[in-house]
């Protein structure tokens, strides 16, 4: 089996705080994680959980307090390894006096690519990320979504084996998010390894081989989205229309939510038939009955809720 593309061992980061910077705030606590070659790993967590801190440590923008990490066998302190990785920063911002082709050409020069090759790559990538029509516009006039696309283009410029993307979906509209998902899946098909952070959970569920959940600087779970969320049914959802003259039993009426002409109730799996019987008696028309399964979002909210309820929770910040 191929060795992991990214190996993180006990990575810890403290940031000094206060006027004299004497106190420390732990943003990342003993993170150990492996990203296998060719997989898409989603790094999930609420704001301030340590996602960006981890990615910045991997790219060498900040330095670890403790622990080590290797990318494609190289220690993260080895800058030459950057030839093989592409990085999209969170809410990317670039030289606003340049146009997108100028920016990409500038970055391509760091890889020593000849002029013809640079031109070809810049053209291809601008088309790929949907910025071909904005070639003459300076980046200062770009929207957030367009900057995100430019950011993705610069991360892919040198055909990196590993892509580290910090919140790639943020700032994008639904169409842009779908395109971003398609690009990530295409990169995966090409055999590249992708580590990306997000707090948009449906995106993670759709494209990740595995997800890692980090809360308050600590890793709380790693696995496939299916493994992470429980597949057990949490309850049943019944959608109905109250057509009959007779009123609903108080127990059902109390928990029903009005949605237009329809009503929705959630009942335990065991109570399904009794609820349906009562609706039948009341003359209501049942429109649908659906299983309610746990989602990644439920799992995530449970974890965050538990963390916030813990009195000794570590205060973390990425600043």
């Amino acid at each position: 089996m191929a060795s992991p593309a990214i190996e993180i061992e006990g990575l810890t980061k403290d940031f000094p705080v206060g006027f004299w910077q004497a106190k420390k705030r732990r943003a990342l606590d003993d993170l150990s994680l492996q990203v296998e070659t060719g997989e898409v790993l989603g790094f999930l967590g609420p704001n301030g959980a340590g996602k960006t801190t981890t990615l910045k440590l991997l790219v060498g923008l900040i330095f670890p307090t403790a622990g080590t990490a290797r990318i494609l066998g190289h220690p993260i302190s080895d800058v030459s390894m950057h030839r093989k990785i592409g990085f999209l920063p969170e809410q990317p911002y670039f030289y606003d006096y340049l146009t997108a082709p100028e920016l990409l050409d500038y970055f391509a020069r760091f890889f020593g690519l000849p002029a013809a090759d640079r031109r070809e790559r810049v053209d291809r990538l601008l088309k790929k990320v949907g910025l071909d029509g904005t070639r003459k516009i300076q980046l200062r006039k770009y929207s957030k979504g367009m900057l995100q696309r430019a950011g993705l283009a610069q991360a892919m410029l040198h055909d990196p084996e590993v892509l580290i993307l910090d919140e790639p979906m943020s700032g994008l509209d639904p169409v842009g998010r779908r395109e971003m998902r398609e690009i990530i899946l295409e990169l995966k098909r090409e055999g590249r390894t992708i580590l990306f952070s997000t707090h948009i959970l449906p995106d993670a569920e759709m494209i990740c081989d595995r997800v890692a959940v980090v809360v308050a600087g600590k890793l709380r779970g790693v696995g496939s989205p299916d493994q992470i969320v429980s597949v057990k049914v949490r309850g049943m959802e019944i959608l109905f229309e109250p057509r009959g003259a007779r009123p609903l039993p108080a127990a059902l009426a109390g928990q029903a939510t009005q949605i237009g002409n329809r009503r929705r109730i959630e009942v335990a799996e065991a109570d399904l038939y009794s609820a349906l019987e009562q609706l039948k008696t009341a003359g209501a028309g049942v429109l649908s009955v659906t299983q309610i399964k746990s989602t990644l979002e439920d799992y995530f909210l449970d974890l965050v809720g538990a963390e916030r309820a813990t009195p000794h929770a570590v205060e973390v910040s990425e600043k």
């Binding site: 923008l61 900040i62 950057h82 920063p89 809410q91 006096y97 760091f110």
Partner: protein
Amino acid sequence: MTRLAGVVAVNTFREAVRDRVLYSLLFFALLMIAAAILVGQISIGIETLVIINLGLSAISIIGLMMAVFIGVGLVYKEMDKRTLYAVLSKPIRRWEFLTGKFAGLLLTLLVNTALMTLGLAAALLYVKHSFAAADVTILVAVYFILLKLALITALALFFSCFSSPLLSILFTVGIYVAGLFASDIRTFGHITGSRALDAIAVAFSYLIPNFNNFNITASAAYGRAVPAKLILDNTLYAAVYAAIVLLAAAAAFSRRNLK
């Protein structure tokens, strides 16, 4: 300088041009035109002297302002706007990036100073109608101004690696002013009579760059030749001093956590 530092330098120059930094030349051109026209009417016989003094002072002050105000933002702005994130994720070392930013501003100052020098030459030609061999001293004076600007750029870059632009401006200008009085500080130490104060004053005066050595405006105005040794000494002094300051900047920046 490495190839990658060169890539950064060219982009830094492009930024200065697109940010319309070279518009300062317009101000200089207007000043020279006004001086050339007016000076003949108010100072009979000393037109050349006034034009050279005024021109060299303007070249120095405009360069100084550019070196300080752009210099303190060279690294800070990239950290603040986070444009540095994408750059440092490329295979470039931090010291290469710093060297590139330094070289880029130096290139900007070189182009700016060269164009201003052409303006000064044009104003002189308008007043004198011809050049004399002694006018070469003006070029030496301009070269010394460039050396001074290189030192100031290095200092501004150094401070911008760890402090805010406002503080960096204060530090850089503070050192520049102190550097103008380096020999006075030494004399002050001697006259205090205190050995300790004298030692501190001497050490401090050698630590700060001696900017007075770079000012030969009077020699240029009177067409006095500048000794070759002074040119060599000043060149070496500026090169070594700037290199030390850049090394210190690289050391400060190499372990800096980007916010």
